[in-house]
């Protein structure tokens, strides 16, 4: 019983220290490894080893302080998180030691170490987080670090593709999960797991929240049909596969489901969803196993099968299901980590990962064989191992035959791989003459893990009530008093268990892969096809938006014209809709017959405006435009606005002079638009003009509410000391506008100068 040990009272804030040191170390790790070479990994193992010791001794506790917008940095050490802290740190320490023997000195190893430690700290954060959003933060950090680790061999295209695939699949699920957390928050009113209580079965948003969160868990924990990224993730070096993709990260989804079980199992969908998902995953995994002979692929699929079985167990309310879950999570982490490391050592020693190429290596690699065999025993579920205890409880779960089928599928797969990786390579005739034992750093892990799998099983009666019951309390939401024994007597269940172990071993011994192209890997192919097609598809979807789809540049002037036509149409539609929005408008502008002079101006300007459109040459067009402008200026004049008329005239004159000068240098006038484009443009132009006229009439129909203009006129002489109100506005009332416009002029002048004088391409 370890009880007294973790009431020994470490100071508060231990969890913060664990994470803080971890992330700090991930920054320092590159320097350690760069200085010490691969040996540096062994030094770094001191961190997880320390965390392991802390995990054994620290009291259950909660630390929380606010972060942002209701999200708290809330950490909680309870049974469930303690189990995972111990697994993560224990395995982490052994695998770091392993890595010190595994890697040859090479560039980038420092960055690898940084990402590895960063992952470890993130994973610890994930299992310690008591706030859903904080958990999500760590969740995504494990995805990022996993991305960098899978892509370690980043110059190989397949490693890059695998890294990207793993990241995108898990990130997609993660986003759904984030939405699920927010929905859950709206049901429970908190992001804190420990304060959520439970979702009432009739809660409207219970099922959507569950579905969204399960989407996140299913992608992370490689549940069917999101499993396809996991085998590809084996592109990573063995320490990564062993740590992330078998023992820890892929269990994050399972962990979260276990964490949410007390809160969400009341949702009616919980059991059918989890049992269905888990069963499908376990069965598909077993089927896929039959197609591979690459050790890491085989291990990946049994991992998938185990994860399916764990999800399936969580879907059941039965006590034995929970006991089986607790035991299997532990057993699987231990034996799968050991088998992965063993496979890595064999790969290193023989230069191949083909399980059928390994034979008779026991004499040459005794320690590796010892560790591998112990782990295989647990994976097969032989008496006296943790695997046996887990399987036993799984088979005890009452009720449907579905449970038996799933357990059998999982156990057969585990047995097959156990024999193929942990036993058969070391027996029989020797094929590889040169293979020698790997350095101690590489066999230490399998041996320790294998011994632990047996030692912990045999002593489970001593400590099970401490650690495992604490986990049970987390799963149940209340204290439990379960019995833990290494052996349950000779009954039907024992017979079944033994039969499964035998059958599993026989499968591994006898069965050859069915072929090289597994049937359901179509999912993977579709993924790659979709990713490859995405840019083209996106280009098609956006190509109608003027220059966006164009890769060669925005050179085509026609597109600019189309864009401007669109912009003018938008303005026309907006004004027309606005005018029509509150019923028919009443135009209350009194009609006054124009004087003769004014009428002549209107006719002249109007007729010239029409003529501009049909002008044959640029120069005639601009001259006619000048006539229109002058006509408008004169109309201003007849209405008593000499200043305005003068300004307009000056502007017209300047524009004509400059335009004529520029036109002189331009190529010949040509018509580039087709007939219907002209009709379209004419329609837009007429529509725009019409709505502007209507708008003007609408504005003129009622006098302005506030008469600032009159106010300015009244203040002009007494306060601004000027008789011309336009001048006082320009230089006094609104002098800042004038400053701005003066700035515009100066900048424009610089621009003209630069445009005329500066040609970078000429210089080049």
């Amino acid at each position: 019983m370890l009880g007294p040990l973790w009431r020994s009272g470490l100071p508060d804030g231990g969890m913060l220290a664990v994470l803080g040191v971890g992330f700090l170390l991930s920054v320092l790790a590159p320097f350690v490894v760069r200085a010490a070479g691969p040996k540096g990994f062994a030094w770094l193992a001191a961190y997880p080893a320390g965390v392991f010791a802390w995990g054994l001794a620290a009291p259950s506790e909660v630390t929380a302080f606010p972060w942002a917008a209701g999200v708290e940095v809330a950490l909680r050490l309870d049974g469930l998180s303690r189990l995972f802290v111990l697994l993560v740190s224990g395995l982490g320490a052994l695998i770091l030691v392993y890595a010190s023997g595994y890697f040859k000195p090479r560039p980038n190893l420092g960055r690898f170490a940084g990402a590895f430690i960063g992952f470890m700290a993130s994973m610890l954060g994930l299992v310690l987080a008591d706030d859903a959003i904080l958990l999500f933060v760590f969740w995504e950090l494990t995805s990022v670090t996993s991305y960098l680790l899978i892509g370690f061999d980043h110059e190989s295209p397949s490693a890059r593709a695998s890294a990207q695939q793993a990241f995108l699949v898990t990130a997609a699920g993660g986003l759904a999960m984030l939405a699920g957390f927010v929905v859950l928050h709206s049901e429970t009113g908190t992001f804190r797991f420990s304060e959520m209580g439970f979702v009432v079965p009739e809660a409207l948003m219970g099922a959507p929240a569950l579905l969204l969160i399960v989407a996140g868990c299913a992608t992370k924990s490689a549940q069917f049909p999101f499993h396809f990224w996991l085998p590809n993730a084996m592109a990573a070096p063995t320490p990564v596969s062993a740590f992330l993709h078998s023992a820890t990260m892929v269990k994050a989804g399972v962990y979260l489901l276990a964490r949410l079980k007390p809160t969400m199992e009341s949702v009616t969908l919980w059991s059918p969803l989890l049992m269905g998902l888990g069963a499908a995953t376990a069965l598909v995994a077993l089927a896929l196993l039959a197609y591979h002979h690459d050790a890491k692929k085989l291990l990946a699929y049994t991992t998938m099968g185990a994860l399916g079985a764990l999800v399936f167990l969580l879907g059941q309310p039965d006590r034995y299901a929970l006991q089986a879950f607790v035991a299997l999570v532990t057993a699987h982490a231990l034996y799968k980590g050991a088998l992965f490391l063993t496979a890595g050592s064999l790969d290193k020693a023989t230069g191949t990962r083909d399980v059928f190429a390994w034979s008779g290596l026991g004499r040459a690699m005794p320690w590796t064989a010892f560790g591998g065999a112990l782990a295989a025993g647990s994976a097969l579920g032989l008496v006296g191992t943790l695997g046996f205890i887990g399987k036993e409880y799984a088979l005890k779960v009452g009720g449907a035959p579905a449970g038996w089928i799933v357990t059998a599928a999982f156990a057969l797969g585990a047995g097959l791989v156990a024999s193929r990786v942990g036993i058969l390579p070391f027996v029989g005739g020797r094929r590889e003459a040169k293979a020698i034992e790997v350095p101690w750093a590489m066999w230490l892990g399998p041996v320790v893990l294998g011994v632990a799998g047996i030692g912990l099983a045999l002593s489970v009666g001593l400590w099970g009530a401490g650690l495992f019951d604490e986990v049970g309390a987390s799963l149940r939401g209340r204290p439990v008093d379960w019995t833990w024994k290494p052996f349950f007597g000779f009954d039907r269940v024992f017979a079944a268990s033994l039969l499964l172990a035998g059958l599993g071993f026989w499968l591994g011994w006898r069965i050859r892969p069915l072929g090289s192209t597994p049937p359901t890997m179509g999912l993977d192919r579709s993924w790659h096809r979709a990713v490859a097609a995405l840019p083209g598809w996106a280009a098609k979807a956006t190509s109608w938006l003027a220059p966006v789809g164009s890769v060669t540049g925005a050179a085509a002037g026609g597109r600019l014209r189309d864009g401007l036509a669109g912009l003018f149409s938008v303005v026309t539609v907006v004004v027309a809709t606005g005018l029509a929005s509150s019923g028919p408008i009443r135009f209350a502008v009194p009609f006054v017959w124009p004087g003769v002079f004014e009428a002549m101006l209107v006719v002249l300007a109007g007729a010239t405006a029409v003529a501009v459109v049909f002008a044959p040459r640029r120069v005639s067009a601009i001259c006619m435009l000048g006539i229109v402008g002058t006509g408008v200026a004169l109309i201003f004049l007849t209405h008593g606005a000499p200043d305005l008329a003068l300004t307009q005239l000056l502007a017209e004159l300047l524009v004509i002079v400059i335009a004529v000068l520029v036109f002189y240098r331009l190529p010949k006038f040509r018509s580039l638009s087709s007939g219907w484009v002209r009709v379209r443009d004419a329609t837009i132009a007429l529509g725009f003009g019409t709505v502007m006229a209507l708008l003007l009439l609408a504005v003129q129909s009622s006098p302005p509410q506030a008469d600032v203009a009159a106010g300015l006129a009244a203040r002009s002489v007494p306060e601004a000391y000027g008789r011309n109100v336009v001048n006082t506005i320009l230089v006094d009332f609104r002098a800042l506008d004038t400053l701005g416009e003066a700035t515009v002029l100066v900048v424009a002048a610089i621009g003209v100068l630069a445009l005329m004088r500066l040609r970078m391409e000429d210089a080049a």
Partner: protein, 494 residues
């Protein structure tokens, strides 16, 4: 303190540089010094606006609505502060990042007038004056865009100036309508009087302003000028534009929507939601289709603007605070990504993704610096982009805007896809041609300094999301009670 300082200061700086026209090398350090001081001015103004409420400065002593008034409320002051920070980063980069010929034609003073225009737009309390600052911005940015006269620059500048001139004209028509119907241009006064105006005219005014600001903010379907032009000038200019210009449009939309929207245009949020969702979607799809570093980044601006508008359109306190946080975060991140793009371009000799590569192996530092803003843009925690997305998405879920939330999340994934593509192509992939010259020349090291500063800012934005979000919430609170703004400007009088 007068709210005019953040505008006058860069204009003064530009004038000093103009007097020293023949010594462009001096411009560099004058620019750095002035921008550094600008940050302090902005911090000071921010302190006042945050502590004592809106800082109102009437110009020439003319009481509103007769004169022009400058108003630094929390939103305006915060925008000015980020602008000053970006200005400083660009000025620092410009010391060694711009060629001598462009410097000789007034690159540095143009940056200053641009900053002045941007700050003016953030602080003015007068619609016509806003138009003037838009003009200052437009002409400065146009000249910066065209400066150098490369062929593709001219094509880009033509698109840019054409669309933006039409947008300005639209704005001006709106102003004419406004002045003709209610006779005032002071924003607070308008907010007070527009509800009593002819509803059809009020709808037209708000509609025209929305279109004009929508073009400036580059929202769907008015954004096409942006991807046509942003990849053409020197990267420093792109970086400056990418951070600031579209955000002026967003700011103007936030200002008008909160000030005029609730009473005069109840239909506006509905329209904005649709525009926001389409901007997110089409922006990100456009980005996914690109294979040029800067073009990818340019189109993501459109998509990110969609998120900001989504927050604005929901109009709840959380959503609006999210939108404000989003704007502030995005300015830092986007500028930085463009600056990094510029460095990557120099190192690889091209910004076509097919020709890039090998940066991860050869430069771990730059790789790390890229990952920070890139993952932040994609919304990965605990970086600033994550919080920005979380706030907006949470507001969406609480407002039952499920379609918008779904699109926002899907676009988040596509953004990640596109950032990973940049990473894969420019960083992880081996270089097609191994460059012979050293990667880190003294000039590039210098240019990495502002990149590092902005990256630290992004990390800080994420880690200190709490106080920053609390500030955004206070901004939102202020925006949702336009009475306070009106009260601060007009006092008790009508």
């Amino acid at each position: 303190m007068s709210a005019l300082w953040p505008v006058l200061w860069p204009l003064l700086t530009a004038t000093v540089m103009g007097l020293l026209w023949r010594h462009p090398v001096w411009h560099r350090w004058i620019g750095v010094g002035a921008c550094f001081a600008h940050v302090f001015i902005a911090v000071h103004l921010m302190g006042e606006a945050n502590g004592r409420g809106p800082v109102v400065t009437t110009l020439g002593g003319w009481k509103p609505p007769f004169g022009i008034v400058f108003v630094a409320d929390r939103l305006g002051a915060a925008m000015v502060l980020v602008t000053a920070v970006i200005g400083f980063a660009i000025a620092l980069s410009s010391v060694r990042g711009i060629d001598a010929r462009r410097e000789a034609f007034g690159y540095h003073p143009l940056v200053q007038t641009l900053l002045g225009g941007v700050c003016g737009a953030f602080l003015t309390g007068d619609f016509f004056n806003l138009y003037v600052w838009f003009e200052v911005m437009l002409v400065s940015s146009f000249v910066l865009l065209a400066l150098g006269g490369e062929r593709r620059q001219m094509a880009g500048a033509l698109h840019y100036v054409s669309y933006n001139l039409v947008a300005s004209a639209t704005f001006l028509i709106g102003m004419g309508t406004l002045y003709g119907s209610i006779g005032t241009l002071n924003m607070a006064d308008v907010a007070q009087r527009l509800p009593q105006a002819n509803p059809a005219v009020a709808a037209v005014v708000v509609g025209l302003l929305t279109v004009a600001f929508g073009v400036k903010a580059a929202v769907f379907p008015l954004f096409t000028w942006l991807p046509a032009s942003y990849h053409t000038p020197p990267t420093l200019v792109s970086a400056l534009f990418a951070g600031l210009l579209t955000k002026v449009g967003v700011y103007a939309l936030i200002r008008t929507t909160t000030l005029l929207g609730p009473d005069s245009a109840p239909w506006l949020p509905g329209v904005l939601v649709v525009v926001a969702v389409l901007s997110m979607g089409f922006g990100v799809l456009g980005a996914v289709a690109q294979d040029d570093f800067r073009r990818v980044l340019s189109l993501h601006i459109v998509s990110q603007i969609g998120y900001m508008l989504f927050g604005l359109a929901l109009m709840t306190p959380l959503a609006l605070a999210g939108a404000v946080y989003y704007v502030l975060h995005h300015i830092l991140v986007k500028t930085n990504l463009f600056l990094i793009g510029g460095l990557a371009k120099r190192m690889c000799g091209t910004e076509r993704l097919a020709g890039m590569g090998g940066l991860y192996r050869r430069s771990p530092g730059l790789s790390l610096l890229f990952l920070v803003p890139a993952l932040s843009l994609a919304g990965l925690p605990p970086l600033s982009g994550f919080w920005a997305k979380l706030f907006v998405v949470r507001a969406g879920i609480e407002a039952d805007a499920w379609a918008g939330v779904a699109v926002a999340l899907a676009c988040g994934l596509l953004t990640l896809f596109s950032m990973l593509k940049l990473w894969n192509e420019a960083f992880w992939k081996p270089a097609p041609q191994e460059p012979t010259e050293p990667l880190w020349t003294a000039r590039r090291k210098w240019m990495a300094v502002p990149v590092a500063l902005l990256a630290i800012g992004t990390v800080g934005f994420g880690l200190f999301a709490g106080p920053l979000f609390a500030f955004s919430e206070r901004v939102a609170e202020e925006l949702l009670r336009p009475e306070t703004y009106v009260q601060a400007v007009l006092g008790g009088s009508k």
